[in-house]
Amino acid sequence: MTQYMLTVHGTVDDPTEVDMAEMQPIFEAVDKVNKKMMDAGIWVFGGGLEPIEVSTTVDNTGAEPIITDGPFAESKEWVGGFWILELPDLDAALQWATEASKACAGKVEVRPFQAEPA
């Protein structure tokens, strides 16, 4: 089994003010997919992230740690939320990503975690 990270991306084009009434069906659809993943026994972890403006970057590669406000790199796209699922292979991950993309009304990127060194 391999753990896959399914990420949903936010973009600069996303509305800053969210209309909760509009979002409600998406929340419900995502809850449903989450429940389905848990019932299937593949759920490891998942959740949505606060907007990119809230992020902080820490760089301790130099002499002193440097803490800066904002993301690591200026970008038009960023991770908005993710799932981590335990699955047998990429085809299974793609199937779940297909459902997840429909539910959250966004593109989903699939990446496997590195295997544990033997």
Partner: protein
């Protein structure tokens, strides 16, 4: 005994058996690199032993067994305890590890892996030719006119993704199968077309090693999936296209269908193609490749260009447009319309299509304008067509047609 003849014979057998050997080893050991390396070692063993001991009665079986033993030797030598342990399990158990899909064949599994939608399209073509076609990296690089190091990197990256992302060696589930078969057919047709009408300036206009390989892979696919009509359709399409190859280029110049010497067509391929088209018609589940094959069957059925049943061709293109509504299909339909309703009607159809960067659009316009006696416009259209293609034979044809125009 080690004459060049016998080495060539061994290499021919090896290439024919390569896909089967590698596919069987990939299924058994779950690792493409181990499979390829072991297959290479089996070839060396064959080159050493066959000239001395004679070619074994079942050379493919011999190569597969030898390669399997070499792979086991290699795994035993590996230092990782975990890898060793895992491999030991595989050595114990020669059965497939995963529940198999609706059809069982190692090569079929591997072709679905090579053509997986998670791989870049150019990597799918390269991997298919490498692992199933047994072409060397150098040959594939040459066929697609990229440096060998670029092609080697492309293949290595794809193999790494297969292993890291765990792209399965498996026939897709029935739900997915139709879509994934189409992906496989698209890869094979791309290989065929690159061979049939090379897009590159430096290559010879037709590269038969690619068309032959595409046909061979489709024959295997049809053997493995006899009930998928689009597979049959693609095979028929390629055979009927290949049948015209001997007369398709003359004196370095492309010869269009209407002007080809039909006596030079390969009758055996045409007969086989027609049988396959009839088989598709009987199934009555038309699709893109089947309709293209049917169109080619109508063309190859006509003893002379003048006997072509253009009405049927126009109808088939309309059906094709319903399945694949692309402007290129509409362009081809217009060619039939020109024969039925005259060049003026056809030109109106062609001018509506947004294909200004497509050489065939300009070439078709040029021909229609020529037939309408609009020479100045035809000349411009030939020039535009030439600006859009790098294929030498095609350019030679277009140049001649342009120079034949009156003033």
């Amino acid at each position: 005994m080690d004459s060049p003849d016998s080495t060539a014979a061994i290499e021919r057998i090896y290439r024919e058996e390569y896909g089967r050997i590698v596919a069987s080893l990939v299924r058994r050991f779950g690792d493409i690199d181990i499979a390829e390396e072991a297959a290479g070692e089996a070839l060396l063993a064959a080159v050493e032993r066959w000239p001395r001991d004679g070619v074994p009665p079942n050379p493919g079986g011999w190569l597969t067994t030898t390669a399997g033993n070499r792979a086991i030797d290699r795994i035993r030598r590996e230092s990782h305890r975990d890898a060793k342990h895992q491999a030991a399990l595989m050595i114990e158990n020669d059965e497939p590890h995963e529940p198999t899909g609706i059809v069982e064949d190692d090569r079929l599994r591997l072709i679905f892996t090579c053509c997986h939608p998670a791989l870049a399209p150019e990597a799918r073509v390269a991997l298919t030719l490498r692992l199933l076609g047994g072409l060397t990296v150098a040959e594939i690089a040459q066929a697609f006119l990229v440096p060998e190091t670029t092609m080697a990197q492309r293949i290595t990256r794809a193999k790494k993704k297969i292993s890291a992302a765990k792209i399965p060696y498996r026939i897709p589930e029935a739900d997915d199968l139709a879509g994934r078969v189409n992906g496989v057919l698209a890869v094979i047709y791309l290989v065929f077309n690159e061979g049939y009408l090379s897009s590159s300036a430096d290559a010879s206009p037709i590269r038969d090693e690619l068309t032959a390989e595409a046909i061979r892979l489709t024959r295997i696919l049809r053997m493995l999936l006899p009930d998928v009509p689009e597979v049959t359709g693609l095979l028929a399409l390629m055979l009927l296209t290949e049948a015209r190859r001997p007369v398709r280029v003359a004196g370095g110049e492309l010869v269009p269908l209407q002007e080809q010497d039909r006596g030079g067509w390969d009758r055996a391929l045409i007969a086989e193609g027609h049988d396959l088209v009839r088989e598709c018609l009987a199934l009555n589940r038309p699709g893109h490749y089947q309709l293209l094959a049917a169109i080619n069957a109508v063309h190859t059925d006509a003893p002379t260009a003048g006997d072509t049943d253009w009405g049927q061709i126009a109808t088939l293109y309309s059906q094709l447009y319903a399945v694949t509504p692309s402007p290129i299909v509409a362009l081809n339909r217009a060619v039939a319309v020109a024969e039925l309703d005259g060049p003026e009607v056809a030109l109106a159809d062609v001018d509506r299509l947004a294909l200004t960067s497509y050489h065939a659009w300009h070439a078709t316009r040029a021909d229609l304008l020529r037939r309408l006696g609009r020479s100045a416009e035809a000349r411009e259209a030939y020039d535009a067509a030439m600006a859009c293609t790098d294929n030498e034979a095609e350019r030679a044809y277009l140049t001649r047609r342009r120079n034949q125009l009156g003033t």
